[in-house]
Structure formats: C-alpha cells, structure tokens
C-alpha cells in the first residue's frame, strides 16, 4: 500500500517536505519510522511525534492505504 509522508522543521531540512512510500499492509507508523531512520541515520537524532491524517497517533498505530503520515520534532514551546 501507498502512504504519503510529510516532514516539518529540522526533519524537513534533512528529509525534504514530502515523500511517497510503498509499505506492506499492516505496517505501523513506528516501524515505518525505524526504516526511514535506518536509511538516514541523521533523522534519528531528533525526538519525534507522529500524526496520521492530521491526528496524533502512537508508534503502534497501523497504517492504511493512502494515509498521510506526518513526522514532527517537538513543537515550539516558550514560557
């Protein structure tokens, strides 16, 4: 199945803003991320959160065909 990837902030600078990827059915978002980090170890330096179709998900979330998977560094903060 096919998923659409989106990266932001420092991850966007390392991996580009968007990508497409074919993954086996039942792949979890965490497994997909481990695969991406294995290909580009620099990505692993940042703590990340995931969203699927614009909603936060945990790494164990199973992907469906056509999902938009976003990977974020922590959001901006400030006191």
């Amino acid at each position: 199945m096919r998923v659409h990837l989106r990266f932001f902030a420092v991850l966007r600078e390392q991996a580009g803003a968007r990508a497409e990827r074919t993954v086996p059915a039942g792949t979890t978002v965490g497994a997909l991320w481990r695969e991406l980090v294995a290909e580009r170890p620099a990505l692993g330096a940042v703590k990340v959160r995931f969203a699927v179709n614009q909603t936060y998900v945990e790494p164990g979330h199973r992907l469906a065909d056509g999902d938009e998977v976003a990977v974020f560094p922590p959001v901006s903060g400030g006191r």
Binding site: A9, R12, A51, T55, P74, V75, S76, G78
Partner: protein
C-alpha cells in the same frame, strides 16, 4: 468574517479576533498576544520564523477551543498563529476568549496558550546574532552548531575594534 481558527502569513489583527468572539451575552473579552522578544538565553534575537502543519494546526486549535468550552463557561474562542518571518515586537500568536464574567475568560485564555505551545504543530526557528536554531519545547533551545559563545563573541568584537 475572520475564521475563528487560522494559520496566516499576514500580520495578526487583534480587532478582527475580538470581533470574532463578540457575543451579546459576554461581559468580558480577554486577549493574549505572543510577540517576538529581542533576547533568548543570552542570544540577541532579531526575528523568529514559524512553520506550521497548517491543516492540522487549525484542527488542533479548534479541538483546544472545544475542550476549553467544556472546562469553563465561555461564549466564544478565536485563535490565530502567524507563520513565516516575525520581526522583534510583532505578534506570532493571538487568542481571544469571551465569557459572561471575566474569571473564566482569563483562566481559559491562559490555559489555551499553554496547551497551544504543547500540542499545536507549529515550529519556530530563532535567528540571532551569530546563527539560527530550531527551538524545541519549553526550553531556550539546544546550542546551535553555529552558535558562538559569549567569550568568542567578545573576542570577535575586540578583533573588530582593533
């Protein structure tokens, strides 16, 4: 009519936000503006640059407003975040809350800005004298690779003066 939740490249307009929360049953409207400060953890900042996952950021702001309305007795909520370059002194985020009485609006506004900073997918890059750095949550940000220390800055100034 200004949408109540939005990500925009334009300057933020408080009057538009205040209009968006106007309600004849409201006895109070509280507004919050977050502005670019000229200093962060000892760095001289000249602008911030914001990036958002726009669709999700607007959806998260809407979800936060719904949660605030469950927690407090509120009339209306509006939130806007600017993206792109925001120079010192200008607002990057604006929130307006209306309620029957002021205590609820103050409390909800405070809670909304705190939660927005924790979960709404927006990132900022700080441009300061000597470098730039992406800022993480609830911190001044990690040292940038190109950041110079106070000592090397002083040394550079001394060299320039000579």
């Amino acid at each position: 009519m200004t949408p109540a939740f939005r990500i925009t490249r334009a300057r933020l307009r408080v009057d538009a936000l205040v209009r968006a929360v106007g309600d004849p049953r409201a006895g109070a409207i509280v507004t919050f503006l977050g502005t670019t400060r000229n200093e962060n953890v000892g760095r001289r900042v000249f602008r911030l640059e914001y990036e958002a996952y726009a669709g999700m950021a607007e959806a998260e702001m809407r979800r936060l407003a719904e949660e605030a309305k469950r927690r407090w007795s509120l009339r209306r909520v509006a939130m806007a975040h600017r993206i792109g370059r925001v120079p010192v002194g200008e607002a990057s985020v604006a929130i307006a809350v209306s309620s029957g009485h002021r205590a609820e609006a103050f409390a909800a506004c405070r809670w909304l800005i705190d939660r927005l900073k924790e979960i709404v997918p927006i990132w900022k890059r700080e441009h300061f004298r000597g470098g730039q750095v992406w800022i993480g949550p609830q911190q001044g940000g990690p040292p940038a690779p190109r950041e110079r220390t106070r000592r090397t800055r002083r040394a550079a100034r001394t060299r320039r003066a000579r």
